[in-house]
């Protein structure tokens, strides 16, 4: 089984996680830039974070045979902090990078005017750089937040096929399906979405434009929930090909629209440095 986790924050995970993910069949990941739990207070902090997403983190992943790409943006929560607004000016530099396959996560947290402005500005950047977009939907007031999100996406003029609306549930999936956007589901140990609920959604809404992710980060989360959902699909009678479509071909199709996705096997590209551990240089 081959799995592509289209949304996972590996910066917060250990090498044990990488090892277990590789053993579970996860061969490619996309890491959207996000809030880090601790608020940042200046754009330099973001530059270092973005550099890590196109530098150290892909290297770490490659040690386990996993392809790592990133999405870059000023996230909705920190878009509200005036000290972080200049991050918007840093984005063009990163949107030119090979490892950046989308703009994201953008969207709403508390649906403030500041979030509105950052959301629209970054949708415009996605159009300019011909990149797909990953849109976060709010935890609070989710149904109305999702409707408003879809309105803003439609107003921006971006092709809905270039947009994933993420963290959906039973209430919001229909709206997004009808919009033509891709539907993202974050499988969590006890909140957002569970493997059995995900299987029911796939039975009801089909497999087209469906993306399943673990969204594993620094909170209570599990980077193997993509695999557990794949197993739940098989147990519910979906075929191996159905699983491959949802867990591999769908995310490949979505992110390949960037023209930058590379899911070739690691060994083919960097034979000299293929290895199974992160080498320490003694300083």
């Amino acid at each position: 089984m081959r799995i592509f986790d289209p949304h996972i924050h590996m910066t917060s995970r250990t090498t044990d996680d990488y090892e277990a993910m590789a053993a579970a069949g996860i061969r490619a990941v996309v890491e959207p830039s996000l809030w880090l739990g601790q608020p940042r207070t200046n754009p330099g902090s973001f530059a270092d974070y973005f550099d890590s997403l196109v530098g150290w983190e892909p290297y770490r992943a490659s040690q386990f045979g996993i392809r790592h790409h990133a999405t870059i943006a000023l996230n909705p929560k920190e878009a509200n902090d005036p000290r972080c607004r200049p991050v918007l000016d840093l984005l063009p530099r990163y949107l030119n990078k090979d490892g950046v396959v989308a703009v994201g996560e953008i969207g709403y947290d508390s649906m403030t005017p500041e979030e509105d402005e950052a959301f629209s500005a970054q949708l415009a950047l996605a159009v300019e750089y011909e990149l797909p977009v990953v849109v976060h939907t709010p935890h609070r007031d989710k149904a109305r937040g999702t409707k408003r999100t879809l309105d803003v996406v439609a107003e921006s003029g971006i092709d809905p096929g270039m947009v994933t609306v993420d963290h959906l549930n039973e209430i919001t999936v229909g709206l997004v399906r009808d919009s033509g956007c891709w539907m993202g589901f974050s499988i969590y140990p006890d909140t957002k979405m569970s493997p059995p609920r995900m299987v029911e959604i796939l039975k009801e809404h089909g497999l087209e434009r469906m993306l399943v992710n673990s969204a594993a980060d620094w909170g209570r989360s599990d980077p193997l929930l993509t695999r557990k959902t794949a197993d739940a699909m098989l147990a519910a009678g979906f075929s191996a090909d159905d699983v491959d479509l949802v867990m591999w071909r769908n995310p490949v199709e979505f992110y390949a629209q960037s023209g930058r996705l590379d899911v070739s096997e690691i060994g083919e590209v960097e034979p000299t440095f293929e290895g199974s551990s992160i080498k320490r240089g003694g300083g």
């Binding site: 550099d51 196109v54 530098g55 150290w56 892909p58 290297y59 530099r93 030119n96 990078k97 090979d98 490892g99 023209g259 930058r260 590379d262 590209v269 960097e270 000299t272 440095f273 290895g275 992160i278 080498k279 320490r280 240089g281 003694g282 300083g283």
Partner: protein
């Protein structure tokens, strides 16, 4: 390595026309390199080059873009592209340094690369341009290669530059590893052996 050799090795890669145009524009207006440099991998591919086993197409294209810069602006652009580069871009800058008319101005970039734990960057920092590195830092970098299991063949001019101080450092490392019951790479032992015999 000469730019002409890189150019010849790139004959027939995808994006050759794009590269020709980009080189002309960079020579005329140096700031345009900021846009072309990150795009080189997407345009020219990342395959190894026939006949130049140490170079990939994206690295060679990026090195040529740097070599096309007007001499008086090269150091500034090189600095900016390295500090704002992803890992592949940084590696390309490091590999291109010996081709550029910048003297020892880029030594701080080598220091940065040697501080990383990315074997691709540490290796690229130890090419011919490392002749500008002060001896203490150069020895540290060689020792770091041994720690990171990077083959010592990446170190340009290793046997000419290796000295008694490096031999002492290697001997300590070998003693430490043996005390711990751990192995050490054969090329490090060979080097130590050679230096000990010379002494």
């Amino acid at each position: 390595m000469k730019p002409e050799q890189l150019r010849a090795a790139l004959a027939g890669v995808p994006g050759e026309e794009w590269l020709t145009d980009a080189l002309t524009r960079v020579a005329a207006e140096s700031a345009t390199i900021q846009r072309f440099f990150p795009a080189a991998g997407r345009r020219c591919g990342r395959a190894g080059l026939p006949g130049l086993s140490d170079w990939t197409a994206d690295e060679a294209a990026r090195a040529l873009l740097l070599a096309a810069l007007p001499a008086e602006e090269a150091a500034t652009q090189v600095d900016s592209l390295y500090w704002h580069g992803d890992a592949a871009e940084k590696r390309a800058v490091l590999k291109a340094l010996p081709l550029l008319p910048i003297g020892a101005a880029a030594v701080p970039l080598l220091h940065d690369a040697i501080r990383t734990n990315d074997t691709r960057l540490v290796s690229a920092a130890l090419g011919p341009y490392a002749r500008h590195l002060e001896p203490a830092m150069w020895r540290q970098a060689v020792l770091k290669c041994v720690f990171m299991e990077v083959p010592l063949s990446v170190v340009d001019g290793l046997t000419e530059r290796a000295d008694a101080e490096l031999a002492a450092m290697l001997a300590d490392l070998v003693a430490e590893r043996r005390a711990a019951g751990r192995d050490i790479a054969a090329d490090a032992l060979d080097l130590l052996d050679k230096l000990t015999k010379e002494a």
